[in-house]
Symmetry: C2
Subunit: 398 residues, 2 copies
């Protein structure tokens, strides 16, 4: 067995769909053992989300690689005892039910932490476990809307726009992973686990960068800027002869070099454009001048010219271009897996390399309940008879 950063850590994963499963995917890629507990009636909802390969959800498969699947009918009393047994031998629980659901099942943090005081219990919910909205249901697009990001995403003359990926879930998944790992570090000192209450809405505020500050300082309400950065200029895209090119000149030196590289040194010396605050202020005058120049060559030509000068630039890639990109290939960012039913399919790799204990994607997502028997017998030490009894008691089925 190859050593990974989280080898030896066991995560009991009761989460569904995206935020929770994204967090446990990160932990699993890093080497933690992820035991995904699913309900018997079809399991994780996202097993029904497209795109599909045959009848298997590629949505589910991409998020649940490196995990084991155990079916437990948590309405059966004996299943609750099994879940407690699993919590006793786990380091972490991750769940994303609505606040109070685990308590109603008799499996809340208080109960499980009594069974295992070292247990770290992360609850990832739409609005957190406290406050007036705590009980409300939420999905990605709800917290994207309420958290403000949609109001600053889109074209200046267009409507508020959902971010094209489920950043409401993904940000919360990342913060859940950070929270769990920080609590693991703390446990080395205290010997104790703790409860972590992650709110998707709060995570939206945490990724707003400086939009709240901009509003509170000036009273202005930040709007949509298309491809422009709110406070750095030029940091945007320009139409070319055959598409678009992105240019990021983050400081005055780069702006000077940019103007020279594109054959327009007179722009760099124009007193209206000398500093970044001035360029932001006089953008309406600067933009048409740059646009006129960039219209004259193809995207590929501009990238060659700008790269030769070491200037930050790039294309706007579509997915076919992303998967064909030589850097993406060189970094091994696309991994082929063999799923027992769907067969060969591709998922993205972890986006970092560790020098000694590198994370990796090793096994395809499980079919529903693929590891129920193994986990019951090998991890919990159930005899064949005990397993049959639990099965008879409806622990593993509807």
């Amino acid at each position: 067995m190859v050593d990974k950063p989280l080898s030896g850590i066991r995560v009991l994963d009761l989460s569904r769909v995206l935020a929770g499963p994204y967090a446990t995917m990160l932990l699993g890629d890093l080497g933690a053992e992820i035991i995904k507990v699913e309900a018997p009636n079809g399991g994780d909802d996202s097993r029904g989300y497209g795109p599909f390969i045959g009848e298997e959800s590629a949505y589910f498969m991409s998020l649940n690689r490196n995990k084991k699947s155990v079916v437990l009918n948590l309405k059966a009393d004996r299943s609750k005892a099994i879940l407690k047994d699993l919590a006793r031998v786990s380091d972490v629980v991750v769940e994303n039910f609505r606040p109070g659901t685990m308590e109603r099942l008799g499996l809340g943090y208080e109960v499980l932490s009594k069974a295992n005081p070292r247990l770290i219990f992360a609850s990832c919910t739409g609005f957190g476990n406290t406050g007036p909205y705590a009980g409300k249901p939420a999905y990605d697009i709800i917290v994207q809307g309420m958290g403000g990001i949609m109001s600053i995403n889109g074209q200046p003359d267009g409507p508020p726009t959902r971010v094209g990926v489920s950043i409401g879930d993904i940000a919360a998944g990342l913060y859940t992973a950070v929270g769990v790992l920080a609590a693991l570090e703390e446990r080395h000192r205290s010997g104790l686990g703790q409860f972590i209450d992650v709110s998707m809405l709060d995570c939206q505020l945490a990724i707003l960068e400086n939009a709240i500050a901009r509003h509170l300082i000036s009273g202005e309400i930040p709007g949509r800027l298309g491809n422009r950065h709110p406070t750095i200029t030029p940091f945007t895209s320009f139409p070319t002869l055959d598409g678009m090119v992105i240019v990021g000149a983050g400081n005055d030196t780069l702006f000077f070099r940019l103007c020279n590289a594109i054959g327009a040194p007179e722009i760099a010396t124009d007193p209206r454009f000398k500093t970044n605050p001035l360029r932001c202020q006089y953008w309406d005058e600067l933009e048409p001048q740059l646009k006129e120049v960039f219209r004259e060559k193809t995207t590929r030509e501009w990238i060659e010219i700008l790269e030769a000068q070491g200037l930050p630039c790039g294309p706007i890639n579509t997915m076919d271009q992303v998967v064909g990109d030589p850097q993406v290939e060189a970094r091994g960012m696309l991994v082929e897996l063999e799923h027992p039913v769907a067969g060969k399919h591709v998922v993205t790799a972890p986006p970092y390399k560790f020098s000694r204990t590198n994370p990796s994607v090793d096994t395809a997502a499980p079919v529903l309940g693929q590891h129920t028997e193994d986990v019951m017998k090998e991890l919990l030490g159930m005899s064949d008879e005990a397993f049959a009894l639990c099965r008879g008691a409806g622990c593993f089925s509807m």
Copy 2:
């Protein structure tokens, strides 16, 4: 001193602008001591980015709360020795120079890990330390363009659109924090640090959700969908009498309840709209029917009606509405700090609560070099004379 998850962990932070500082902000909020090392000529570039309070950058202040600032002129030999001394007493180094920069300074991972084999060294760069683009400069918008997210963000009839926050940096910052924390856990087993190579471009692929899978399975090139979810319907916004309302009906039961709640039960029973795959397929027929209904009441009225039925829904908030939201207030998501020069200002809080060792925002961002003398004398034990000598040797100035 209040105990926090990362109390006792010291991070030497050589990073600038956003991705690296965002990572160390997370670690600092969680209780790590962050020693930010800045160059003497103005320090971190983002000290020059708006919005400003007086002459102080609110952009910088929001990212660098809970940190100390030390000025070191890394071109002076004696400063390099000081940096090595700091690395010797630190647990983590975070830097986001281009690959090779730290090596050229004689301060690469190999050198610093010899001084301190327990050191975890995270390098967060545009394209990672390997591959054909490794040496290229990158900013947020460059990797947003190259990573594909812009091609799926925006309105169907509009251009590819930059995500309205610097998600290229923020995703990389989050992954850098995850990587550092995972390496800390591993260090408890091995006693050793390691090098972590985080690529902003790779992080963009890691947050694409299922867009790459959609392309590879069908050959289709995912485009822009406005506020729609690619595979869940209805999961979008609708115009109302006075604005917009977001509705997320993630499964068939919720869709049925939604149609009844809005007084259009005939939509729910239409065979074209019975299942999620059908609703995705017949969206062009479904959308106008739902649009017609939602146009009849105000956003507030719809939210009341839908909430009464427990249906996931919400408004699209602008920044003034976000800061005035009762849930945001109840969760304590806005924290007022007192900066020595800028005075009172507001930053966002960490988006999670820990039951025993809660992260928090305690101190405002430092002015440039605010802690140079303290760190040299108290942490490195420099005498007054040694400090004066270093100052004379140009360690702390241009």
